[in-house]
């Protein structure tokens, strides 16, 4: 049994595991009960499991939890709540940016990472930043509009 400590959405957590190579995604969902980060492929291809690790967007479905000891993880639950939504979440609601919505957690995280380094992205820049996230329903244009809208709101607030 190995104990690994890190922080999730600003709170310290400690997990004890038989298998220290357990993917971070499994730990988030099965040990910490944070179901917002979704399983899509387990192959770091589709982006459903995107989280921020020390501020960097990373797919966590194949990332051994041991590799993030001492680091800060942000998941979609750390963005906002219905009472206090993150500007991205508000913009996604406003634009009805999604169909099945399974990809949205990862897309919101990728978008947050983009806006942290590029507060005024073009449509092309947003699209390229989201190329690591697959949307199968075809909500792409709504999602791009929502990110543009959130960026504008965040620029005013900044």
């Amino acid at each position: 049994m190995t104990t690994i400590e890190f922080s999730v959405n600003g709170k310290p957590v400690s997990v004890a595991l038989d298998n220290e190579d357990t993917p971070l995604l499994d730990v988030l969902r099965n040990d910490l009960g944070l179901m917002g980060t979704r399983f899509g492929c387990g192959l770091e291809q589709c982006g459903c499991c995107m989280v921020l690790i020390d501020g960097q967007p990373e797919k966590c479905c194949a990332k051994p939890v041991s590799s993030i000891a001492g680091k800060n993880v942000t998941t979609v639950e750390g963005l906002g709540t219905p009472d206090a939504p993150h500007p991205l979440q508000q913009a996604f609601l406003d634009e009805q940016a999604g169909q099945c919505g399974y990809c949205l957690s990862g897309i919101l995280i990728s978008a947050k990472a983009l806006l942290a380094v590029n507060p005024s992205p073009t449509r092309t820049e947003i699209a390229l930043a989201l190329d690591g996230n697959i949307c199968r329903c075809g909500s792409h244009n709504r999602i791009l509009r929502a990110v543009e809208k959130a960026a504008a709101v965040m620029r005013v607030r900044a």
């Binding site: 499994d26 099945c100 990809c103």
Partner: protein, 706 residues
């Protein structure tokens, strides 16, 4: 006076309490047999019910997809939820409202037409009567059958229908809540993975349990019945590792090894078929007219749902409960009863949302996996989640299709006789009929199944869907060769045969226009008297500022295509601008759609643009590869359209507040988009490509041939 004809689903489930109840003061619950697949159907049903009952939409709770106490509406499929299910819901609510009005009138000693309903309360001459749905509910028996006599609201009186309504299911998905079946947890639940039978008829050879336990790095158990083998444990990571390792530690006999030749549509030409002729026989001579013939094809497609399928089940006290994201809880219950040798009454199936399915993906099979394991481990709740490769390899595929179009052209250059000759596997591989749940192929003592039947023409057809052109052609027929053996399991994907058929016929129409020397828009209008068809074609041409006879052949092209889905749902016309060198880059898409009265305009637009994008992905990228097995098993080997490859799309709805009946829109754009891309590529290159997908290899080969 004859009794009114009830809408189909209401006729099948006439008891009003199956549809509507007033469970607590100020609340209305409606039950729909249609399930949420990410298409927004629950929101649209709430809009319809709120209008017909005259209550605020916030009072309406929508339940769906349970096999107990709810209408059985079969599958949520075929763009029929609003066109048929919505019609049934609206009539059920109107009939309920009429029963309450009659009761209130009796109590108030007035005529029913003196009463008005405002947000659930009854008013007489503008004055509150003190009666509302909830004061009257206990006195009204809703276990009666719908009469169909109540008048539906006139379109001018609709308050919620016709307004864009925010989707009720989206917030949970934007805030990372437990929105999906994958997020369900039951007390004492164990995780499971199936060691998948490679194909029907394959048998387990050896099982190296010790190696699988080592691979798991945690405790696992084995559960087996015949050739159905599962790995079960408390720790999901352990069962996942063991499940993935099983390919190396479990051997099988009688394994089929499909070849790359079999992945191509023209392989179908050599297979056993069941033939049908729909329409008059083909004329034996050309009657002095010019002949046109061309062959179009498309390979096998995957649904490629973003989440691998998931199912939960528990067998407790003789009752099996199954949680699933499938499209039809009642048909699944029937298939489970047959497979597990249980009575239907001993099974409850509950729908919980999954990711978009676009048809018959692995959802039913995953539910069956969970159910089989639950039956073998009584009392323990079982959760199974397929791996990514498992979903790609074992989900039923959309059949490859080959379509030959033959036409006789009159002296004006217009088609006078039309034949669509189709080779395709069956688009109706859903459990039931002649098809088993996957687990059923591995379990012992299963009943033999009859030959599976294709979707009947009365339901829009399967391989023949949209093969009949809507244009004014004097003589038309479909020759359908249903291929009875396919190298992969096949079933329903969004639109069934509509995409390959519309691709074939609308590319052929462009080829005929070119032969006639007529602009493609003008040519279509010259052979179309259907006013709604003309309207969408003219509208999309105006939106895109279509220039008649614009020159092409310089690597930039523009194409148009049109279809009315199933020739009885929504009308859509699409124009695509693109550039081609070695690959195709979509630049912009315009779409005009007439879906009759639109319940939720933003929801409809979302579905239409989703259909455009998914079809573009099919056309530009997608084909399931076979090479010793299914060689498309992840997002690298089965790529789909990326964000940076998606063009801006403009959608216009024609007369969305009209009094015309709602027409299904969810699958309306896929066919026209595919053909518009095909026509635009031809316009750009001056070469016709007739085989999908339009990959770099095919474009290069066509260019080199020139």
């Amino acid at each position: 006076m004859n009794a009114p004809v009830l809408p189909g689903p209401l006729n099948d489930n006439p008891r009003l309490d199956l549809w509507v109840s007033f469970p607590e003061s100020g609340k209305v619950t409606i039950n729909t047999g249609r399930v949420e697949l990410g298409q927004g159907v629950l929101t649209a049903m709430a809009q319809i019910a709120a209008d017909e009952l005259d209550v605020a939409i916030t009072r309406v709770t929508v339940r769906s997809g349970v096999t107990d106490g709810m209408p059985n509406e079969g599958y949520t499929a075929g763009s029929q939820s609003i066109q048929f299910g919505g019609l049934a819901m609206g009539q059920a609510c109107a009939d309920v409202r009429a029963l309450f009005i009659a009761r209130a009138a009796k109590i108030l000693a007035c005529a029913g037409d003196e009463l008005a309903v405002r947000d659930g309360a009854f008013f007489r001459n503008g004055t509150a009567t003190g009666q509302d749905y909830w004061t009257l509910a206990s006195a009204i028996d809703l276990s009666v059958n719908a009469s169909g006599l109540a008048r539906r609201k006139a379109s001018a009186d609709l308050r919620f229908v016709g307004q864009s309504s925010a989707r009720s299911d989206l917030p949970a998905k934007i805030f990372g809540d437990d929105a999906f079946i994958h997020d369900m947890k039951l007390a004492g639940m164990k995780h499971a993975r199936v060691v998948r039978q490679p194909n029907k008829g394959a048998s387990i050879g050896t099982i190296d349990e010790a190696s699988l336990r080592r691979a798991a790095k945690g405790a696992i158990e084995f559960v087996r019945s015949g050739d159905f083998l599962a790995i079960v444990g408390d720790n999901e990571t352990a069962v996942e590792l063991a499940g993935a390792a099983a390919i190396n530690h479990v051997t099988w006999t009688n394994v089929e090894t499909p070849t790359p030749l079999q992945q191509e549509a023209n392989w179908l030409l050599q297979r056993p078929v069941i033939d049908r002729l729909l329409g008059p026989p083909e004329p034996s001579d050309a009657q002095g007219k010019q002949r046109f013939e061309a062959t179009y094809s498309r390979g096998y497609l995957a649904h490629a749902s973003i989440s691998p399928s998931c199912g939960l089940a528990q067998f407790k006290d003789g009752h099996l409960t199954v949680w699933t994201h499938c499209q039809g809880v009642f048909p699944l219950r029937a298939a489970l009863a047959r497979t597990l040798k249980l009575k239907s009454d001993d099974i409850t199936v509950r729908h919980v949302q999954g990711s978009g399915c676009y048809g018959h993906n692995g959802a039913d099979d995953a539910a069956a996996d969970a159910a089989v394991i639950a039956m073998l481990t009584p009392g323990t709740p079982i959760r199974i989640r397929w791996r990514r490769d498992e979903e790609f390899i074992y989900e039923p595929k959309s059949p490859a299709m080959l379509v030959k179009v033959r036409a006789l052209i009159d002296s004006a250059g217009k088609p006078a006789d039309w034949t669509a000759e189709i080779w395709s596997g069956n688009h109706n591989g859903r459990p039931g009929g002649g098809n088993a749940l996957l687990a059923g192929y591995a379990l012992p003592d299963q009943e033999p199944l009859p030959q599976a039947n294709e979707v009947p023409e009365a339901a829009g057809g399967g391989a023949t869907r949209n093969a009949d052109p809507l244009y004014d052609i004097a003589s038309k027929r479909i020759v359908h060769h249903m291929v009875t053996e396919t190298p992969v399991r096949v079933s329903a994907l969004r639109g069934l045969g509509a995409m390959p058929n519309v691709f074939a016929l609308e590319c052929a129409i462009d080829e005929l226009a070119e032969r006639a020397g007529v602009d493609p828009v003008a040519y279509r209008l010259s052979i179309t008297t259907d006013m709604r068809a003309r309207a969408v074609i003219e509208k999309v041409a105006a939106m895109a500022n279509w220039q008649a006879n614009a020159p092409g052949g310089n690597g930039a092209g523009r194409g148009i295509a049109f279809a009315r889905y199933k020739n009885r749902a929504a009308y859509s016309a699409v124009i695509v601008d693109l550039e081609v060198d070695e690959e195709i880059r979509l630049r912009r898409v315009w779409c005009a759609t007439d879906g009759g009265l639109i319940v939720n305009p933003d929801g409809a637009v979302n579905q239409l643009e989703g259909g455009v994008i998914q079809s573009a992905s099919w056309v530009l990228k997608e084909q399931v590869r076979l090479d010793g097995g299914t060689a498309s098993f992840d997002w690298d080997t089965y790529p789909v359209l990326k964000f940076s490859e998606v063009p801006p799309i403009d959608i216009a709805l024609i007369n969305p507040t009209s009094s015309d009946m709602p027409l299904g829109v969810g699958e309306a754009t896929a066919g026209p988009t595919a053909a518009a891309i095909g026509n635009a590529v031809s316009h750009a290159l001056g070469i016709r490509l007739r085989d999908l997908p339009l990959t770099r290899e095919r474009i290069m080969a066509a260019l080199l041939k020139e």
